[in-house]
Assembly symmetry: C2
Homo-oligomer: 346 residues x 2
């Protein structure tokens, strides 16, 4: 039994590694699956989810086992997330596991989805032994944007700032290129390539004419481009770079953060990056919906110029939103402070 | 010869370790000295400087050799700084080395002092073989505040800020306790215990009533207390905490940073910590005399409230003072960014 538990734990670790091959962005969670032989000594198949519209991890793992010529009857499926129970872009995984003769399922965390959840119950009702909780923390961390969106009903919001040591995003004359250095800017592009959407105000779009694309150091576009969300009532000029190559352009003619988030949730946006300007940061902070802050800080002092965040109604220190520092990264001469929720919520 | 060089290098490393036992604050540099037997295989004596008014490292090392019963004739003195050549609070070390029969001196870096320097020349004139440059970078790093004061004619200035992620030092209602957490505040006290003076404006003194002492976590005063410098014309109330236990209180009734630095240089202040408020930070920045920044950043956002630094005449990004990030430290949920000179100057 100890050996079997160790084998299942190894398989879950492998399943998590497989899951990480999937994309961090997109509507679906990253999931990995390993099919173990009935005696748990042999891996029959492996699979992971490559993104919306492609097979779920369980289906991929069963297909891999079949391709390898293995019989999966009486086998154990070790999967990082509870198998789904609904027909979405693909069929329900619970049924596919039953059809393949799987008799044991070990999953790391339950699926909180109202429509996708319930797979464990369906499997149990059909006589499959189902256990949950193996490496649950790692599995939750891997899908926390998606999990957050399903449990709170809105995207995971990361506020990005890039400031001097005294909190300025530009000098008094409006110049801001460059406060941070090339390594920090390159890092910001890797973050863009991992989110579903980036939001700025029309004010920022008109003032800075940003492209809001995820680019490599050589300027080429990354394979995945986030939706470019512009919030506000003003029109963008026909020649704006936002009309150029990159992700879909979504102009939301509102100042209501709740409406913005509802629209993005309906579009299955999971991670959202709020890039500015100061008024948009303030609106998200005022709504209490900033889950994480990415603060790039450059060793520069300006003394004046616009601040990263406009006033949002906090007048005393005890009322200020506070996060927990999750990580710091040196990026050349700049420092990235990643600050996340103070609670355990992901 | 290779063996001898290795022995001298070992002795210099030891001398640097001894030097580090001395205080980081105070008018004199930290110096260590090792007396090697003529064949370099034996250490005859060791010493280090314990601070102004106590014997220099060479004198301490010679005394140690004597106490151990060793004859120092024909011996080599390995010392982290060129032996001094003047009678200050103590007699000239060059003469003491000659009197002790030392025939070789190896020092790491020359003494840039107009009065204290020249020891190497005096020793050579008396027939001693003198070499310089062994572990020079380490030796310079060890005394860089002192070296800076002697070569530039003013103290080494560290500007300290403690801000939110958006650069605020207090909320709109003036509350600032606490933006940073206990670990960051404890760290700031260890820095105070290593500097010669702390400067604030009368405005900060009147608004915050700070003690400006170096305290341990239990509130007890550190052994060394920096001079408490208050800059500005207004009087302090009789009951101000600045009149309480702590370092000397020095009220400089001026707004001229050059005059402040000249007064502190005349008092042999080497490291000076500028703690605020925003106007004092701005004055030092405008004068171009901020050598280093200690920026404590807390994962909090306020959106309004006073900034760490008042305007100081920089209106465009290219004109902003910029440093090199020397180190970052996680202090609980806060991050300390230490930013130093962009050049090699220490």
């Amino acid at each position: 039994m100890g050996t079997t538990q160790a084998a299942v734990d190894d398989a879950m670790r492998r399943a998590l590694d497989l899951a990480r091959r999937g994309p961090a962005h997109g509507p679906n969670p990253r999931v990995g699956c390993v099919i173990l032989a009935p005696d748990h000594t042999t891996v029959l198949g492996e699979g992971w989810h490559r993104g919306a519209g492609t097979p779920h991890a369980e289906i991929a793992a069963l297909a891999d086992a079949t391709a390898r010529g293995h019989d999966t009857h009486g086998a154990t499926a070790v999967v990082t997330l509870e198998p789904c129970n609904h027909t979405g872009r693909t069929g329900p995984c619970a049924q596919a596991l039953l059809d393949a003769g799987i008799t044991h399922v070990v999953h790391a965390i339950p699926d909180p989805g109202a429509t996708s959840g319930g797979g464990a119950d369906a499997l149990r009702a059909a006589g499959v032994t189902v256990t949950s909780g193996t490496r649950a923390d790692e599995a939750l961390q891997l899908v926390h944007h998606w999990h957050h969106a399903l449990t709170t009903g809105r995207p995971w919001v990361t506020l990005k700032t890039a400031t001097t040591l005294d909190g300025r995003v530009a000098a008094a004359d409006g110049t801001s290129r460059w406060i941070t250095g090339p390594q920090a800017r390159a890092h910001a592009h890797t973050v863009r390539a991992d989110v579903d959407a980036i939001a700025v105000t029309t004010g920022t779009a008109l003032a800075d004419d940003p492209a809001l694309t995820a680019r490599a150091a050589d300027g080429s576009l990354a394979a995945h481009q986030p939706v470019r969300v512009v919030v506000g009532h003003r029109n963008l000029p026909a020649g704006a770079r936002l009309h150029g190559p990159g992700g879909e352009l979504l102009h939301l003619r509102t100042h209501d953060v709740t409406a913005v988030l509802a629209e993005l949730q309906a579009r299955e946006v999971r991670p959202l990056l709020v890039e500015g300007g100061p008024a948009l940061a303030a609106a998200f902070l005022a709504a209490g919906v900033v889950d994480e802050v990415h603060a790039y800080v450059a060793p520069v002092i300006l003394g004046e110029g616009p601040a990263a965040v406009a006033p949002f109604g906090v007048s005393t220190i005890a009322a200020a939103p506070r996060w927990r520092t999750v990580a710091t990264h040196r990026l050349g001469d700049d420092v990235l402070v990643v600050a996340g929720p103070t609670s355990q919520e992901h």
